[in-house]
Subunit: 78 residues, 2 copies
């Protein structure tokens, strides 16, 4: 079973992308954790180290997939 | 059954994103068509009209999800 982590910050672009992730990723092949960096601020460092430049982003097996552009990670860090 | 169209241009970023789409989208919920705009150039207009600015991009139900950045649509048009 693969693991995906979807990082977002509650922005409209994020919510829209989250819906696709929740609706269409195959739960029999991959488990997805949803991380809201606006509230789970202790996960920001981990997101940065994974190579995330903006949210929303999906991390699967060490690869980062930025999905459209909601906000830069710098903006999320504030 | 929803329908997704994944547009790409054969670039390394595209191939990487395509693998995720093929491996992890739930085939019981969504059918995915793969379109290579480098070879299927008659589909470029449709991609543009869908709102695609760069590839790779996934279109689901009228929404465009640009996944990372491989090449601009202008570059694909050449």
């Amino acid at each position: 079973m693969s693991k995906a982590v979807f990082y977002h910050a509650g922005c409209p672009v994020c919510v829209d992308a989250e819906q696709v992730v929740l609706d269409y990723l195959d739960n029999s092949k991959i488990t997805t954790e949803i991380v809201h960096l606006g509230t789970e601020r202790n996960r920001i460092k981990e997101a940065e180290e994974a190579g995330i430049k903006s949210v929303p982003a999906l991390v699967i097996g060490g690869n980062v997939y930025h999905i459209n552009f909601g906000a830069s990670l710098d903006e999320v860090k504030g």
